[in-house]
Symmetry: C2
Subunit: 545 residues, 2 copies
């Protein structure tokens, strides 16, 4: 059941048998159904599939089913494909639901200079998200490194780092390492060989002196600029007491250590939506796949032979039917539809989980001040306890004149509160937060107010949130998630998307889910859910870091 990109699968298998490498070394390796084992639909016997929603999950399902000869129609309510995979460029219109959560309202239009862009949804691809990387390779989507962390990034903590004088990542990270290593070293009283080795490890780990004490390290930077006559001396260390009382580790400082954000990450050159553009182009040009935009589904009926779907398009109410239906509609949207012929268990499952609120803010900057001699920041994220939470620097077009910055990416209450603000007020709030990291945000010629964009995903029509907020501790979620892994209506109706995957909020999850469902439709996997099902943990994304 495992596909490999290796040029020589038999050599690869031999290698693993020889080396035992199939074990821990291959952890996290992507496994995908073996679609090569599925027969193409015979001519004249082709099966039809209605795919609801042209997000990454829907498009991937169209790709996998389409290339095996299934006739697919994708119904997408928006004027673009991609769903939350969205990249803002000049002229792009941003809509949100009004205060009552009813009508979509045009809130603003992106006014970036031509050639600039900012990813409003997913922004990075881990090296172990093999499906995303494989589709990019197959589709010819060029990738470049996404820099998650540079030690030049900064941290602002109210009451600890004065506004405009944040701490550098390298000082926090390495002075903390040094202090912790020294504390532990001081507790080692044995004189056996193991303890000797442990002391040596701690010296290297924390850059301690021969006595096992920490007095600062050039890992944290130099005390002053280098000159020919001066060998680098370490900057004076941040005191352990200052570090600890600042509680810098709250608000995500160690997020880049987690597997999902470890180097080497990637991003598509030119914007994340290159993936959905390439997927859309491939399925519509090479397979029997039609994508209907501005087609808003209102009801799904399983009481007939196949699946019947009603949708609004061009002011009309239309009906389409097919052998199978794959729903990439976010669960909070799906539960608002008229669902006929569905089980109570399925209806309960759809209603069980909410989607997480999350906001982003983007800025065009007219000079890349963060890359100057003073800041020296090339990519990565600065962290703050301000409601903006995090501040991303671009991992593309380094050393050019202008660029875009992600000026907020927040969760939970911060996102709820920010989402209640009108876009102009969100930008003002985000500017305040950014100015605590970079005083250049006080200059509106450098970062013009009218070149900001903002999105509150929980208010975006047809989305209603960032990702399914699965919580393994919630018994209702345990029932619901398992239910969603099996089709309704005798194998006719399927749910896809990162919402039905162990990776909520990640494109890899959407693709994994689409492959799983395609394999169920193709008969490569059983149409019942696996016996043991773990509930995804989305709380990890927002609170666990």
């Amino acid at each position: 059941m495992t596909t490999r990109t290796s040029a020589d699968p038999s050599a690869q298998a031999l290698y693993e048998a020889m080396s035992g490498l199939a074990g821990p070394l291959s952890s996290g390796e992507g496994a995908a159904p073996d679609f090569a084992a599925a027969p193409r639909a015979a001519a004249g016997e082709e099966k039809s599939v209605l795919i609801l929603g042209a997000g990454v999950g829907g498009l991937t399902a169209a790709y996998e089913l389409g290339r095996l000869g299934y006739r697919c129609t994708v119904l997408e309510p928006q004027t673009r494909t991609g769903g939350r995979n969205r990249t803002a460029r000049k002229g792009d219109k941003l809509y949100e639901l009004d205060g009552e959560g009813n009508s979509p309202v045009l809130t603003h239009t992106c006014a970036f200079d031509k050639g600039l862009y900012l990813n409003l949804g997913p922004g990075r691809i881990p090296y172990h998200h093999r499906r995303v990387l494989k589709y990019c390779t197959d589709l010819g989507v060029a990738l470049e490194p996404y820099i998650m962390e540079t030690t030049a990034n900064v941290v602002h903590r109210a009451g600890h780092t004065p506004p405009g004088r944040p701490w550098r990542n390298r000082r926090i990270a390495n002075d903390t390492r040094g202090h912790l290593a020294a504390l532990l070293s001081a507790t080692l009283t044995e004189s056996d060989e193991f303890t000797g080795l442990l002391r040596d490890l701690l010296r290297k780990f924390g850059d301690l002196d021969e006595e096992g004490e920490y007095h600062g390290s050039t890992r944290s930077g130099y005390a002053e600029p280098l000159e020919v006559q001066e060998f680098p001396r370490p900057a004076p260390p941040l005191a352990l007491a200052d570090l600890v009382t600042s509680e810098f580790w709250k608000h995500r400082f160690y997020q880049p250590v987690d597997y999902l954000w470890q180097a080497t990450m990637f991003q598509p050159v030119g914007g994340m939506d290159k993936i959905v553009h390439a997927l859309t182009e491939r399925v519509t040009s090479e397979y029997d796949v039609t994508v209907e935009l501005k087609a808003e589904v209102t009801s799904v009926d399983l009481t007939g032979d196949g699946v019947s779907v009603t949708y609004r398009s061009g002011g009309q109410e239309l009906t389409a039917s097919a052998d199978y239906c794959v729903s990439n509609i976010p669960l909070p949207v799906l539960k608002q539809l008229t669902l006929t012929g569905f089980s109570t268990e399925f209806r309960n499952a759809v209603e069980a989980v909410g989607f997480a609120p999350t906001c982003k803010v983007g800025w065009q900057a007219n000079r890349r001040f963060w890359e100057n001699d003073h800041n020296q920041i090339y990519g990565g994220i600065s962290w703050t306890d301000h409601p903006i939470t995090q501040f991303w620097y671009p991992s593309n077009d380094y050393f050019s004149k202008t660029g875009t910055l992600t000026g907020a990416y927040n969760f939970g209450d911060h996102a709820e509160e920010m989402g209640k603000l009108a876009p102009g007020d969100r930008l003002r709030l985000a500017r305040d937060g950014a100015a605590q990291l970079h005083r250049e945000f006080l200059e509106k010629t450098t970062v013009p107010q009218d070149l900001g964009v903002t999105i509150a995903w929980h208010k975006v029509p047809h989305q209603l949130g960032g990702w399914a907020d699965w919580d393994p501790a919630d018994p209702a979620h345990q029932v619901a998630y398992k239910q969603l892994l099996q089709p309704e209506g005798d194998g006719r109706f399927y749910v896809v998307g990162d919402q039905a995957s162990p990776l909520p909020g990640w494109q890899e999850g959407a693709m994994m889910s689409a492959q799983y469902v395609a394999a169920q439709i193709l008969g490569l996997l059983p149409r019942t859910a696996p016996e043991t099902v773990q509930v995804p943990d989305a709380t990890f994304l927002t609170q666990g870091l």
Copy 2:
């Protein structure tokens, strides 16, 4: 004395005054002499400079003096500029001195496919090496990220990690963090607020459980590939005893933590020699600078009015003279020349320091097996206690068909021993070391023997080593280094290069030294050495990591 790239220097100064950011945040910021304050040489009064050696230091001196109207002649014994900044491509010939260290012998010719290349000398640029980055920007040299470390990299330790089953970086790094944090947490018996915070920090730092214990973390990878029904479980942790007794931290595992190798690093797109090509092109096309290749200096005479240099070129012995002479000749080569009119102090200084032995090996691979689903390695370095020491993966052309690997980069005894071998034997040794990391090295169709290149820098004519092996603990070095920071012969003869900088082995050091000497010649800096001079620490490069 500080130059800034900021578009608006006054706003920058104001910002720093407001924010106090000029302090620790700007640590490591490059400072360069203010060449704008130097008057251009008046017409008809132009001064002449002989620059010996077209390495990075010599070319930078030609750039800074040339653009102020000084007439420069660069004498370079080789058929190319760049010195140790060298990128191997198809057809490049590699010469080394014969067994007696006398005659240069053609050892082999690079046979990489067209379009492939490998940096044989410097391979990366730290974000705080502001001079290199500024020259690249000024010269239009495109840069891309150099990935120093990915957590998919591996470590091989004889007797601890079986051949072909190395440990992943992410497991070593994060299981060690976890165990150390748990050890320290267990020693905390106080119940005050500070200790409570410290415990919380340790939980985040080491990914400990609520009891402060470490039982593994997804930071180290997943136990098995993800499926829709399975939320990621951590791989079982490496035991502390296994980690400690493996002594993994020896042989450079924590090198990427050091300031010099912290993210975000860069490399020129297309090869490091793009820098010297751009420098050579700029100085010869825009300034009054001539570069004479195959011009081997044999003597320098300071007894006349200016400086007189004798050199061999085209079978002839020629003499050139000028007002100033800037020597970029490596000290071990310089001491072999006939030096007339030099002080004893200077001669002693030239002889005081040796150059470090260092070897590199490069491979062309006919498929990028390291990027496949099994290995998932994109850039970074794997470490081994085999004599090859380290193994680099390319930070360019990801997801393409073929690529080049740095199959050895070693120091000290390993480099001495490897340098004694004939190139074919070096490649065989390097293949053995690589096969312990990647069994694909057992397949000569994947990594053909005749597509390997190797260089022992200490045997390369006109170089004789990797860098000046300065040791601050050596009293002779303290005298010598200071001596080299001031000119000989009444301000007529100067030494440049990373050998006369606090950054031996780094292009930033060569450029810093060239700027320092140019400023001395221009009268912007005194021609005496600074009163207090720190000796560079090159031992750090080889033993301190």
